[in-house]
Structure formats: C-alpha cells, structure tokens
Amino acid sequence: MTMRAQTFSKYWRLLTMSWQDGLVYRMSVLMWRVRRFLAALMSLTIWSTIYASSQTGATPFGYTQSAMISYIFLVSLMQNIVMATALNGLAQDVYTGQISNQLLKPVSLTGYLVMQELADKLKNTSAMVFEFAALFLIFKPELVFPTVGIVFLFAVWTVGAIILNFCISLLFGCLGFWSPETWAPRFLFYTLLQFAAGQLFPLDVLPTLVQKIMYATPLPYLSFVQTQLFLGKLDGAAQLRHSLTLLVWILVLGLLAQFIWKKGLKDYDAAGR
C-alpha cells in the first residue's frame, strides 16, 4: 500500500514537473500551436474550395463534401493528439549522455519518458480544444456521433495510436546509441508520414495497390483507421481485423524497441570518457 503510494507520488511528481517545464515558455508553446492550427486550417480551406468549385452534388473520390470535411477535421484532430511527442530530442539525449541522469536513479527510464510524453499530450490537447472549437465553427463539419460502442473503440484505438507512436519514437531514440545523425531519419519519416497517415487526403482515394502497400506498414494505424471507424466505414470484421493488427504492431514495435534499447545500453558510452 505505502509502496504503491510512493511509486504513484514519484510519477505524479515527474508529471507535474514536466508540465511546469513545458509551460515555462508560454510564447514558445503558443507558436507551436499557431503552426498546427494553420496546418489544419489550410487543409480544410483547400478541400472546401475544391468541392465548392466542382459541380454541386458531385462526389469526387466517393466522398461528399460534408464527408470530406468531416474526414479532414477528424484526421487533423487525430494528428494533433497522436503525433505531438516530447521524445523528439530523445536520440540527441542518448547521444549526448543526458539520459545518464535517469539511469543513475531508482526510477525507470521508460516510466520517466511516459510521464514526459503524457505532460506534453496534456499541454497540447488542452490548447487544441479551443482551436478545434474554432475550426468547427468555421467549417461546420457534420459529425454524426456513432454508437457508444464505436466511440469507445475509437478511444481505445486512439490510445493505441499514441502508444504506437511512442514505440516508434523510442526506436528513433535508439539511433543515438550508435550515430550522431539523429535528425535526418526522423525528418524523412515524418515527411513520409504526412502523406501515408492520411493527413492531406483519405488513403482510400489511392490506387488499390498503393493502399495495400500502406496497410502493410503501421502508418495507417497512426490516424487513418481511427477516422474510418468514426465515420462508420468499417464493418464488424474490419473492426476486428484492425484491432488485432494494431495490437500486433504495438507488440512487435514495443518488443523491438525494448530489445534494441537493451542492446544499446550495453554499447552506451555515457558521452565521452
């Protein structure tokens, strides 16, 4: 009982400190939000225009205007929840030996990173509420709320996407054990992700072959399948299939990250000697 309380207070303290640390530079946070907001605003504007200028009632790509706007709205929301991560600098921290601080203390490094990530998510999502309220008022997407069961599954999948992104970030962090070149691979990945996770257009407008390739990667599970679920495009079989795939990806990438971290720590040089 007391032990559990101590562990709780340990991680609670980490969470609140990470939160405070993030808020020291309010302007900086604001700038980041401005940028995210602009990205969502642009996507919505462009799609509105495309539909406005095509014949009324036309449904390019099998999406009606309101379906498309709802999609873009949802996917932007998902991107904001899932992609923002506190672990961008992890590889750098590994390379420079900054993680030594956590390794020396009776606290789990993973637990520590999870708290940082959580604080960052809280910060971003609380700012997001206002932004998306504004976007909602401007573009008025028709969001039909699915059944409670689906909403629940949607929430579970969203948490799954966050965990998946966390595992991917951990894997990128491992790079720091062996290479100072930590920025470029990440950048390349996120550039690819912009398209492959369905940020600019729904993946189902792509040729079938391309879609098949996409689904062989974890990328659609970072936001796209969630939006499809919410928009009621997945039947029971698909729901089950995607649930299992998401779970498998988390397990595979999670175990892989754990394995590589163990290996990395043996090669760790704590920066210099």
Binding site: Q6, K10, R13, S100, L104, P106, Y268, R273
Partner: protein
C-alpha cells in the same frame, strides 16, 4: 567487519569499439551492415579495494580512464571484463536498493532541471528516492546552510552562476544521504574560493555521514587536501595506489615559485635560489618561475623577497600532469 571492502574491483576493463564512421546519413546507413572499427582500451584491467569511510582520489590525465571507471562503478557502462562490486551489488543491474545508496556527481553534467528552480529538482529527488518527509527537511536544511544557498534555490537554475549551480548539484545528489559518493571533477571551472568551499564541504560530508568517496580531479590541491589515498591511472592502467604523501615526497620534490619583479634582475641572481624554469623581461615586465626544493620553499621565498626587488610571489604545487609524467617514467624504468 571493516575488513570486507565496500567497493571491490578486479581486472576491470572497458573497451570501446570506435567505429570508423563514415560521416553523414549515408555513411550511417552503410554502417548498418558493414562497419570497420578499432578498439580503444579506455580502462584496461584495473583492480582495487576501497573500504568504508575512505576518500580516494583518482588522478590521471585527460582520457586516462578515470571517468570511465566511475561510470562503470555507477552502472552506466557495461564493463568489457570484470564485475565490480559496490555495496555488495553489481552496479550494472541498477537495482533500486543500490541506487538509493549512492550518487554520482559530474562537474560538467547537470541533473538539475534547467528551466525550473533547484528546489523543484530537490522535491523530485525526494519522490524518486522515496525520502521520508522528516529526513528530507532535515538534510535539506543542513545542506543548504552548509553551502550557504538559502537565497538561490528558488531561482531558475539557468540564471545561476557555475559555482551556485555546482552547490545545488551537490545538494540534489546528497539529499538521500548516499553511503557512496562518486565525484567527477567537482571543482572544474570554479574559482579558487569556490573550490575551497566545496572541498571543505566534501570533507565535512565524509566526516558527518561516514560516506565513502571517490573523487577525480585535475587540481592537485583538491586531491592533496581531501584524499589520503590516491590511485593514479594512465592509459587505462593503474600505475600507483597508495598514500598521496608518498607520491608527493617521492616524485614532487619541488614546488614552483612564481615571481614578479619591479625592475630587471639577472638570471644569475636567480640561479642562486633554485632552478630557473622560465625567465622573461620585456622592458616593463620582469617575471620568472623557479623550481625550489619542497621543504625549503618557504624559506627560499623569504630569502628571495629580501634580496631581490620582488613585487609579487606565489608558491604552487607542480601541475598534476608533471607529477604523473614523472611517476610514469620512473615506474617504467623500474621494469
């Protein structure tokens, strides 16, 4: 009881494979399947025992392997050979019970959260090390008084001076009353007064808590004042282990007299007092350094003062590098 060493190291080595990395992204991609490397023996078969309550100084030049040894004793690095035992634990396993009993302070690394006041990190450590409220209050008060930092622990760390920050680093590391303390260059970059303050503090901590301390330093004075025992490491190997005074008596027979004169003196005048190491005059400044016998340093200095037009004089220990070079060359000659 005191016969079992607290820290025991046998044949400890750490070899780093240094990849001959091709630079750039492509290079690192290529190195995924093909890499060439060379082995650097940072620590190469070191053995020693340290008993409870000892303060031991690790002396060695840059890259000699001092810090690598400390990092292995802390569980940060995975040894290539040998398993050190600290407090009966294998550090690499990073058991919480072990981590709660030791601390590593690195002069060039900081654990304090840069953008928050130091007190926040103290509270975090309280939670992480599961320090009871009462003990935390007591230790914190004591440390804060000892180091005279009451006013600064509420200020954002990044606004503190290097010396102030180092003091707070020490507090953060000592809040859980570690039995074993590793200090890596704790006084680096600090001014003389601050160095002295920290030294006094370390000594006091050792007395009060009976803590075992290993310290590495560049400054001979640090080691001389704090450590009875010194271990000299060079190129990853231990080349001396024993009383520091022995090394000083044996190898540092001289002290250095630095002199500034008000007007020109001749080299000959100086040679009467000791070996002239440096001598310069440019018409306005006249300076010289003399090597004089350790035991006669004080008397010689006063003689110089009375005979020559001296403006300023200081007596210094020879730099650590000079002593090591001497030890190394003599130990080698013996073999």
């Amino acid at each position: 009881m005191t016969d079992t060493p607290l820290i025991s190291v046998k044949n400890l080595s750490k070899h780093f494979k240094v990849y001959k990395k091709q630079p750039g992204l492509w290079g690192s991609i290529k190195s995924l399947w093909h890499r060439e490397y060379e082995t650097v023996k940072a620590v190469d078969g070191i053995s020693f025992d340290i008993h409870e309550g000892e303060i031991v100084g690790f002396i060695g030049m840059n890259g000699a392997g001092k810090t690598t040894t400390l990092k292995m004793l802390s569980g940060l690095l995975y040894p290539t050979t040998g398993t050190p035992s600290v407090l009966g634990y294998n550090p690499w396993e990073r058991k919480a019970a072990f981590q709660k009993q030791f601390a590593l302070v690195m002069g060039q690394k900081n654990q304090l959260w840069w953008d928050l006041p130091a007190i926040e990190t103290f509270h975090l450590n309280k939670a992480i090390y599961e320090i009871p409220d009462e003990q935390f209050e007591k230790t914190l008060n004591k440390l804060v008084k000892l180091l005279d930092v009451e006013d600064i622990i509420q200020i954002q760390v990044r606004k503190l001076s290097l010396g102030q920050r180092m003091k707070c680093e020490l507090i953060a590391a000592l809040l859980h009353n570690p039995k074993v303390l590793f200090l890596d260059e704790p006084t680096i970059g600090l001014d003389v007064v601050m160095q002295k303050t920290l030294r006094d503090f370390i000594k006091a901590y050792n007395k009060e808590f009976g803590a075992t301390i290993i310290l590495t330093s560049h400054y001979m004075d640090d080691v001389k004042e704090l450590c009875e025992r010194a271990i000299i490491i060079d190129h990853g190997k231990k080349i001396f282990d024993g009383k520091l005074q022995d090394i000083i008596d044996k190898y540092a027979r001289n002290k250095i007299l630095s002199l500034v004169f008000s007007k020109s003196v001749t080299k000959k005048d100086l040679a009467a007092f000791g070996t002239v190491k440096e001598f310069s005059e440019d018409g306005t400044h006249y300076t010289a350094t003399l090597l004089v016998a350790r035991k006669e340093a004080a008397t010689t200095a006063s003689k110089v003062l009375s005979k020559l037009p001296v403006v300023d004089v200081t007596i210094e220990e020879p730099p650590i590098e000079a002593i090591i070079r001497e030890v190394f060359s003599k130990e080698k000659a013996k073999k």
